[in-house]
Symmetry: C2
Subunit: 275 residues, 2 copies
Amino acid sequence: MRIAAPGDRVLSYSDGVIRYAGVVQDFASPAFKPGSFGTTGENWSNDGWLLPIAWQSFGTAIRPKDFITSLGPLLPLKYSPIQPATGNGNQKAYLSEIGEPVFDFITSRASGFTGTHSDETVVAPLDALDDSLEQSLLADPGINSTVKQQLTLARKGQGLFRSRVGTIEKACRLTGIENPQLLVASHIKPWRMCTTAAERLDGANGLLLAPHVDRLFDRGLISFRASGEVLISPRLAIQDLDRLGLRDACNRDCGAFSPEQEGYLSFHRTQVHLS
Amino acid sequence: MRIAAPGDRVLSYSDGVIRYAGVVQDFASPAFKPGSFGTTGENWSNDGWLLPIAWQSFGTAIRPKDFITSLGPLLPLKYSPIQPATGNGNQKAYLSEIGEPVFDFITSRASGFTGTHSDETVVAPLDALDDSLEQSLLADPGINSTVKQQLTLARKGQGLFRSRVGTIEKACRLTGIENPQLLVASHIKPWRMCTTAAERLDGANGLLLAPHVDRLFDRGLISFRASGEVLISPRLAIQDLDRLGLRDACNRDCGAFSPEQEGYLSFHRTQVHLS
């Protein structure tokens, strides 16, 4: 999941057939298993990664077994989702690499597949996840209404959360911006991944960042060590860092973080940062 | 309204008494008159400016007329909200400057006034306005559900709106960023000020901007001429522009805009840009 990159093409294989092809829209983000999964994937861990994919339906399902004599030789020798000899599925394979020839072989046989997407259908999946999480929080009779209000404000980096972050952080660690108008109160451990109201509202779980720095941090394209060193993801193009005017800033010492902040930063480094 | 700046202190005078003092939180933004005004302000124009203020109640109302002999000499000679001689209100005055001595005189007489705010109570008023506008759109039986979905996505710069902007704009005008992950589809005429669904979804009413450029543009701290020249608001500190690494970019020719874009840009220059 963490190797998939925007633009990668994927096939959905399930119950012996392929019904959808898709294009990866963004790098995977840490997320809890959606409630809508129900009992499907009961044996999967509750937390994992969400990979945003724009899917297009084939119209008619394709059964790889039907073409296995031609398809078999194209399949990878290791970690193939389909056994090259029999055409049966390989239960152990999950989001395995198949190579362009296999993708092209399958999609050329799909009558309803055009390969072009209308971007209109692509909804930001993390927003949708946050929205549904917010709805379930608001419906929870165990949380009082003031806390509910503060939790929804915290999602946007506002209210109690922002004011608490402001008692710890005074400026953007990378750019030095102090003007509140130009700062975003960003969660270190993402709002959606916090497991308690206390974590969502903890000032130590936040940084005040300029909007472009917030975007890089939120997408895991940068992170920080406890010492204040900036970590740059290999997924972030140096050209983009230059265009954002942040290349020098990233070589700077951003100042040490407190042990409380480091608790959240270690989550960010391992779960959000794209290493 | 447009002269008020973050940190300015204000008094609320109505029906001959002062009940609240407040601190301006941000520059005014163009906004329609809130529906909650009802018949109050019936004679006011439907569009104007929203000035975000964090209010604190006095507990007991202060009647300036009671102190007019001491207060009168402190009042400004021109545009005073209260007539210095009689202590009666001046109907023509609206958000008029009173000076620090008047503010201090009044607040020193307010028992319940501490002068310190808990930031927890400050809700982002533009978000709240957008939320209520979105709710009324969603409740409108005259709009079909696909359009509703696209209108709410457009508010966040997503869906059909973003895809339409993408057919016109390929990169951030200021930074040259082309990576979709690092671009925001920003409305030129703010979403909340559009009067039709067509305006909210019009690709010519959008720019793809890096997140920090989007913030400056959204707050009216920068704007563009049709020729592609960047306009920098005097409200934007040069130090902040430097820290954002945008000073050189602002001297660059950003490329001419189409007549359709210029229609929206002229709104932005006159109504959003802080000149």
